[in-house]
C-alpha cells in the first residue's frame, strides 16, 4: 500500500516536471519574438529588409538642379560635389599670373592677394606653394608636386586630414545638398572651411538662434 502510493506520487511528480519542461520549451520560442515583428531588433530588420532593396521612386534631382555639380568617385563612393572653378572670382589665375611665380615676385610688380594671409598649420609645415603650383597657377599641387584640379581640391586636404576624408566620403562629415534621396550631393571641404584660415569664420562662437522665455517662466 505504502509502496504503491509512493509510485503514484512519483508519477504525478514526473507529469508536473514534464509540464514545466514543455512550458519552458515553448516559452523559448515565443519569448524571442516581439509582438507582430519577426525581427529581434531594428538593426536586424534593417539588414534583412535591405537585402532586396531596389531603390525608390523618390529623387533629390529637383533640389540640386540650381547648382552646378561634378561627379566624383572616391573608393566605393560616387557622389556629386559643387563645381568650384566658376565660383572663384578671379579664375583663371593665369589671367594675371602670366609668368611663373618666381618671375612675378621680383620688384616692379604690384603686390596681389594682400587680403589673404595663411593661418593653416605652421610656417614649417605650410606655405602658399604647399598647395598652389608656382609654375602653373591654374592648378593646385600635391605635396609630391602632382597637379590637382581646383574642382577636386578635396584631394589636397585629404593628404593630411585622412580621418575627416574617410568620414566625408562615407557621409558622416559635411553637409548634404538637396535631400536625403539619391543622387547624393555633398558639400566639398572648401564650401565650409576656408583653406587659408580653416578654423574661421564658419564655426566661431556666437549666440544661439533662439531663447525660450516661456520655458523659463514655466520653470520658475
Amino acid at each position: 500500500m505504502y509502496l504503491k502510493d509512493n509510485k503514484t506520487m512519483r508519477n504525478s511528480y514526473n507529469i508536473i516536471y514534464d509540464l514545466i519542461g514543455i512550458f519552458l520549451f515553448t516559452g523559448i520560442f515565443y519569448s524571442c519574438k516581439h509582438k507582430k515583428d519577426e525581427y529581434h531588433s531594428v538593426t536586424d530588420k534593417i539588414e534583412a529588409e535591405s537585402k532586396n532593396y531596389h531603390g525608390t521612386s523618390i529623387s533629390s534631382d529637383a533640389y540640386i538642379g540650381h547648382i552646378k555639380t561634378i561627379e566624383i568617385t572616391e573608393g566605393e563612393q560616387t557622389f556629386l560635389i559643387p563645381e568650384r572653378k566658376s565660383q572663384i572670382k578671379s579664375y583663371a589665375c593665369t589671367e594675371c599670373h602670366t609668368k611663373s611665380l618666381e618671375k612675378m615676385q621680383s620688384k616692379g610688380f604690384k603686390k596681389a592677394h594682400w587680403n589673404i594671409s595663411i593661418d593653416h598649420a605652421n610656417e614649417n609645415t605650410m606655405n602658399c606653394i604647399t598647395c598652389h603650383d608656382g609654375k602653373n597657377m591654374d592648378n593646385l599641387s600635391s605635396i609630391t608636386r602632382k597637379s590637382i584640379d581646383f574642382n577636386n581640391s578635396y584631394n589636397l586636404c585629404s593628404q593630411c586630414h585622412t580621418k575627416q576624408f574617410e568620414d566625408w566620403k562615407g557621409g558622416a562629415h559635411g553637409k548634404r545638398i538637396g535631400g536625403w534621396a539619391p543622387p547624393r550631393a555633398s558639400m566639398t571641404c572648401v564650401n565650409c572651411h576656408n583653406p587659408h584660415k580653416p578654423h574661421k569664420p564658419h564655426f566661431e562662437s556666437r549666440w544661439p538662434a533662439r531663447y525660450n522665455t516661456q520655458k523659463l517662466k514655466e520653470r520658475e
Binding site: 516581439h34 523618390i58 533629390s60 557621409g171 536625403w180 539619391p182 558639400m187 544661439p208
Partner: protein, 376 residues
C-alpha cells in the same frame, strides 16, 4: 469614392433643386471646386434625414466615422459630450441650410464641418478618403482666411525606413535647427513650443540630463561643454502608440510615428509613456502669424493644429516623403545631423551606422529608436 464605402452621411447643403443659370446642376453656381461627391438631390426634411442616415449606415460595410465615434465603450458623460458636439454642428448645418440669408459659402462651411466631424480615423481611410479630407481642410482654410495652402496626403513609400544620426562632436549648440523646426512646422508662437531640445552638458559628466541645461542663452559653444539634441526618435517599437486609447497615433510603414490631430482626444497618455520627452501638448490654441504660415503642409505633419491635441516631430513628413531633408538637417550649419533611408545600403545614414561607433538613448527599454548618436 463609391456610395457604399463612404463613411459619413453627406448633408449636401449646397444642392439646389433646380439647375441654375450657369447650367450646373450640382454645386452652387459660385463654388468652383468640390471634390467630394453629392448623392441626394432633394432638400432634406427630418424624416428623410433619418431614413438617409439609416440607409447610409446599413450600406457601409466598414465602420464609418459615426460608428468609430459612438461604437466604443464610453461613459455617459463623454457620450453626451460627443453627442452634444455633433448636434451643435448638425444644428448649425440645419440652420444655415434653412436660412435664406446664409450664402453658399456658409452652407459649404457647415457642410465641411459636418463631414469633418464624422470622418473616420485617418489610419483607416482609403487613399480617396484621405484626399477628400485634405481637400476639405484646404477648402475650409480658404473659406475661413481667404488664403490658399497646399496639403498632401502622400503615403509611405515602399522600401523606405527613415533614420537619423546625430554627431555630438559636431554640434555647437547654435540652435538653428530649433528655429527652422518652429518655422517649418507651424508651431504655436505664444507658448514657444519646440520639438527639438539641445542639451548643454558638462564635459566629463557623461549624459547627465538632470544637470544639463536645455535653455541656455550665452555664447556657444561654451568652454568645457558639449551639446546633444533630442526630439521624437520615431521608435520602431513605440510605447506612445501602445498606450493611445483611441488609436490616434501610429507607426507608418516608413517608420514615422504620426498623429491624427483630428482623432486625438488629448488625454496625454502618450506624453507620459514616452521615455524621451518627445511629445508636446497644445495647452492653448496654436497661433501663427498669417505671413509666417508654412503653406506646404501634410495632413500628418505641419498642418494647423487645434487646442488640446498632441503633436511632435514627424521628421518633417511633408518634406521627407518628398525626398527633402527635415528642416533641422537642412538648417544645421555644422553637418551634425544626418538623415536618410535605412533600407538603402548605399545611403549615408547606413555608412554612419556601419562605420561609426553609434549608440542610442535608453536602448535597454527595447523601444528601438531610429535615432543614433555618434562621435567623430
Amino acid at each position: 469614392m463609391s456610395s457604399n464605402n463612404k463613411k459619413w452621411f453627406s448633408l449636401d447643403l449646397n444642392k439646389k433643386t433646380d439647375s441654375c443659370d450657369c447650367g450646373k446642376t450640382s454645386d452652387g453656381c459660385k463654388s468652383s471646386s468640390n471634390s467630394y461627391p453629392h448623392q441626394s438631390l432633394h432638400q432634406i426634411s427630418d424624416a428623410d434625414f433619418d431614413a438617409a442616415v439609416d440607409t447610409e449606415i446599413a450600406n457601409s460595410y466598414k465602420k464609418d466615422g459615426f460608428e468609430q465615434v459612438f461604437d466604443v465603450k464610453m461613459d455617459r458623460r463623454s457620450a453626451f459630450k460627443k453627442l452634444a458636439a455633433s448636434l451643435a454642428i448638425g444644428a448649425s448645418a440645419v440652420s444655415t441650410s434653412c436660412s435664406f440669408i446664409a450664402g453658399d459659402e456658409s452652407k459649404e462651411k457647415s457642410q465641411i464641418d459636418w463631414e469633418e466631424q464624422f470622418k473616420g480615423n485617418y489610419k483607416l481611410m482609403s487613399d480617396e478618403e484621405k484626399q477628400a479630407t485634405v481637400d476639405r481642410l484646404v477648402r475650409s482654410y480658404q473659406l475661413r482666411t481667404g488664403k490658399n495652402v497646399s496639403m498632401s496626403s502622400k503615403n509611405a513609400e515602399k522600401d523606405v525606413l527613415f533614420g537619423y544620426a546625430f554627431n555630438i562632436s559636431k554640434c555647437q549648440g547654435y540652435m538653428d535647427c530649433v528655429s527652422a523646426c518652429v518655422e517649418e512646422n507651424n508651431q504655436d508662437r505664444n507658448s514657444q513650443m519646440e520639438y527639438i531640445r539641445i542639451h548643454e552638458m558638462k564635459d566629463g559628466k557623461g549624459f547627465n540630463f538632470n544637470e544639463a541645461d536645455d535653455n541656455y542663452y550665452h555664447e556657444v559653444p561654451a568652454e568645457g561643454h558639449f551639446y546633444m539634441g533630442t526630439q521624437c526618435f520615431h521608435c520602431d517599437n513605440p510605447p506612445c502608440v501602445e498606450v493611445c486609447p483611441v488609436s490616434a497615433t501610429w507607426r507608418e510603414d516608413d517608420g514615422l510615428v504620426v498623429i491624427d490631430y483630428d482623432w486625438c482626444v488629448g488625454c496625454r497618455y502618450c506624453m507620459a509613456a514616452c521615455p524621451y520627452d518627445g511629445r508636446r501638448f497644445n495647452w492653448s490654441k496654436p497661433e501663427v502669424p498669417e505671413q509666417e504660415v508654412n503653406k506646404n503642409q501634410h495632413y500628418l505633419g505641419n498642418r494647423m493644429r487645434k487646442k488640446g491635441v498632441m503633436e511632435k516631430c514627424t521628421f518633417c513628413v511633408q518634406r521627407s516623403r518628398a525626398g527633402k531633408n527635415p528642416a533641422c538637417v537642412e538648417a544645421c550649419p555644422t553637418g551634425a545631423r544626418i538623415f536618410g533611408n535605412l533600407l538603402d545600403p548605399n545611403s549615408t545614414i547606413r555608412w554612419v551606422l556601419e562605420n561609426k561607433k553609434v549608440f542610442r538613448l535608453k536602448e535597454d527599454l527595447g523601444t528601438e529608436p531610429k535615432f543614433w548618436y555618434f562621435m567623430d
